[in-house]
Amino acid sequence: MTAFSQPKGIRKLLSRFGVSATVASLVIFVFLPSFFLISFTFTQWPEVYTEVFANPLIGDTNWIEIQKYLALSLRLAVSAVAIGLVFGIPLAYILARKNFWGKGFLEDITTFTLVIPTSGFGFVTLIAWTSIFGVDSVYLIPVINVPFIMLIIHVALTFPYIVKTLKAKLEDMSTLFEQASGTLGSSPLTTFRKIILPLTLPAIFSGAVLAFARSLGETGATLVVSSVYTTAPIAVIRWVSQFNFGSAAFLGSLLIIVASAIILPIEFVLQKKGVSSFSFFSTLHIEKKLLKLEDFASRKLPRVRDLVVLLFIILVVVLPIIVVLNSVTLSWNSDPDTGKVTESVMYQLFGPSNYFSALIDATFVSFASAGIATYIATCIAIPTVFLIKRYRFGRFLRAILRVPLIVPTSALGLSILLLWGPQGLNLANPGIWLIILTHIVFSVPVVVEPMLATFEGSDIPLYEEASRTLGANSYNTVESVSLPLLKRGILAGVILSFTRSLGETGATFLVMGSATTIPPLVVNMVESLAIPAALFASTYLIALSFVLLMLFRKVTTR
């Protein structure tokens, strides 16, 4: 039966049902958990207040702590983004505009920290920086301390967002403007300042926003290295494990509010206005000097730029991986320094502590929860993309879909716990189902984003019109034209969501109960000082990430 022969009323009813079902699942699975924590804090305000500001035993100590944690988190996030911008912008430029041997590899390395579960990468970095410079050298090189390593990790985990968004924008942008600028006599650096920078500023900002959000919510890697330094997401986890739900909920809400207050206005302004011509140096005097400097630097310094960027990548990503791979082979049968067999990888894996079977179990839980969460998220995401593109409220939907992406995951986990868990509606106990419910929340926007990008890059409305003029009804059109065209976007989204889910630590910690996934397992290993086991687990994660990376590359490159 074709659409034509259906009575109009039924068609309308079907489409209305589809729309409301999609909206309903978005609300239940995505929006409700994202915002529940704040409403919880408000409805339970008296208890929260007593716990945070007027504890009968410790007074307002919790409030003072909260300020301290938030300050550290914000300082970390801002510094990480600043460093990420300094190195990320030239890196994105090189990747988008230059051709050289090993470019594909450099791209993989850049994507690597997005893919690897962060607790594994945190441990890798910790081992690399402390084993190269040694524990004693903390006194020789005073810079290498815990906050410094934290910063390095946050930079490594967040700069890919800046690189990826800017690179995508540059690749989309025609090189024509740069060529035109060159023919008008401007040096490459001047072209960069006057043409490329203003035209890509929205992309740079949104990359920085993503990086900032990721740093603010980062839990896995930070937990591994934190020792006495506590960031806000870690504090949430610690308080929950001590059943201090009031303080945890208050801090979590603050995190959500801070993230939204910083990020959403920037996004909104950029979406609305874009950035038109701007100039830092208006007076001709400075401008002239600057032009000379840029001309000089353009001729003499491109090598330096390439070297600095390369060095950065090697230091923050490549070196840690190599050091860990080296350590794991060295301590395979016995500890390289003490010679103790009990400190070897083999002993800890298969000995009394039997970390190997724990790792196998965790792998199963991780893959199952990531797989199911991604599947459900994709089922919600596909109709959501069409809602965003076809309806007037689409823009609004798109904007609030950004929220789950910027909500720190430990706050999200707490929100889920309080909403669906025993303390709330009591739908599920901590365990794999609660993990899945948590992962769906951020997986939906993660799948939606690349699909939207594909949608916008492939003229789908045009082909849909062509299909309709050839006599296909709207259902056939979506099935035989739109979805195949979106395939790449869907696959990219699925892989991104799967890796993100696999690596998620902060929220999982709070909702997992006894069903441990891999990243918390690594944290546990480190906390119980089973270093060789953690070395092996990290190596395992590195290998896993490379496999996922290859998959991702195969799917996204044509």
Binding site: S174, L176, F177, Q179, A180, S181, G182, T183, L184, G185, S186, S187, P188, T190, K194, I195, P198, L199, V275, S276, S277, L284, E287, K288, L291, K292
Partner: protein, 369 residues
């Protein structure tokens, strides 16, 4: 001052698999308007981009004036370049676009403003200085692009299909405007186009390119009246091509026998008796008369097709030997004939060209791609 010289220039793409420009020699004289004309993919744009420094040649040398510029990036070549897609900076208004060159060259404010004003007046857009490129029509955008290229003060203007993206009527108007501007400012201009009518109307000289090679350089008249290559005869103006072989030759004249035993006479162009040749005759050279007539180079045929094209009428005539010929006559000067009529077509001996039959076949040699 700005002459441009290319010696033995080669450019390949895709690791040498595609030869875009194949040993090109070209000398553009000072204050000359030269057009690189050819079908798409013939290497004309690549040649222009190498002159600008947007591509670097694999081999050969490029001189602007007395300077060897082969390896110099565009910003040091002192050129003006007009892109087909305008390439106006979308985040700057007309004024900032036009004064971009002076600004990045660090010129004094006063000089910058004076040149900006002059150039905008030249292209008659002074009242739109605050507009952004997205608010302008195609023709206006291209005039802004022209003003921007000129305001860098260069005496060498490079134009890459500058009229290609415009509507037909605006295209013809703007081509005369550009030529006048170039001549008034005494510039050297190199213009790339695939439109032979545009090339004829705008250029002092035309270089016809095909498959990376320059086939012939000459004034529009030379190319039209005396094409040296069978491709040029077809691309610059149209031609009818009739195959045959040389039956007889004297010092000045050739007798060519066509299919069906018809023989025609033409001027000798160093062909030997027995050579396989192609006789080219322009449609507008062919005279057409009702009925069977006899005379030198007269061939009988039937009218198979007729089109009224505005200025001209166009007949397709099936000759008695089975070949097809196209005849174009001015619409107002001729009595129109109708399909099915028997006619005689004729052409003067000195207005036909004889080319050796191409080794790769006539169709391949005339192919545009």
């Amino acid at each position: 001052m700005p002459e441009v010289k290319l010696t033995n220039v080669v450019k390949t793409f895709d690791k040498g698999r595609i030869i875009a420009v194949d040993h090109v020699e070209l000398h553009v004289r000072d204050k000359e308007y030269l057009t690189l004309l050819g079908p798409s993919g013939c290497g004309k744009t690549t040649t222009l981009r190498m002159i600008a420094g947007l591509e670097l040649p694999d081999e050969g040398e490029i001189y602007i004036g007395d300077n060897l510029v082969s390896d110099l990036p565009p910003e040091y070549r002192d050129i003006g370049y007009v892109f087909q897609e305008y390439a106006l900076f979308p985040h700057m208004d007309v004024w900032n676009n036009v004064t971009y060159g002076p600004r990045v060259k660090g010129w004094e404010e006063e000089k910058r403003d004076r040149i900006g004003r002059e150039m905008l007046e030249l292209v008659r857009l002074f009242e739109r200085t605050d507009a952004f490129p997205s608010e302008l029509s195609g023709g206006m955008r291209q005039r802004v692009a022209l003003a921007r290229a000129l305001s860098s003060g260069s005496k060498l203007l490079l134009l890459d299909e500058p009229l290609g993206a415009l509507d037909a009527r605006i295209r013809t108007d703007l081509r005369y405007e550009i030529r006048k501007l170039v001549k008034d400012l005494q510039l050297t201009a190199i213009h790339v186009t695939h439109d032979q009518a545009e090339a004829m109307a705008i250029s002092d000289r035309i270089a016809v390119m095909r498959k990376g090679k320059i086939l012939q350089v000459g004034t529009p008249q030379e190319l039209y009246l005396n094409p040296q290559h069978i491709f040029v005869a077809n691309f610059v103006g149209e031609s009818n091509f009739i195959e045959g072989y040389v039956a007889d030759r004297t010092d000045h004249k050739l007798t060519v026998e066509l299919r069906g035993g018809i023989s025609v006479k033409s001027l000798n162009q160093d062909h030997k008796k027995g050579d396989k040749v192609v006789v080219a005759v322009r449609p507008e050279v062919l005279a057409i008369q009702k009925g069977k007539k006899s005379g030198v180079n007269s061939i009988i045929g039937d009218i198979e097709g007729f089109r009224f094209e505005g200025t001209n009428v166009r007949y397709e005539i099936r000759l008695e030997n089975g070949d097809l010929a196209v005849v174009v006559r001015p619409a107002l000067m001729a009595e129109w004939l109708s399909v099915g009529e028997k006619v005689t077509v004729a052409f003067p001996v000195e207005k036909s060209f004889v080319f050796s039959y191409p080794e790769k076949g006539l169709r391949t040699e005339l192919a545009l791609e």
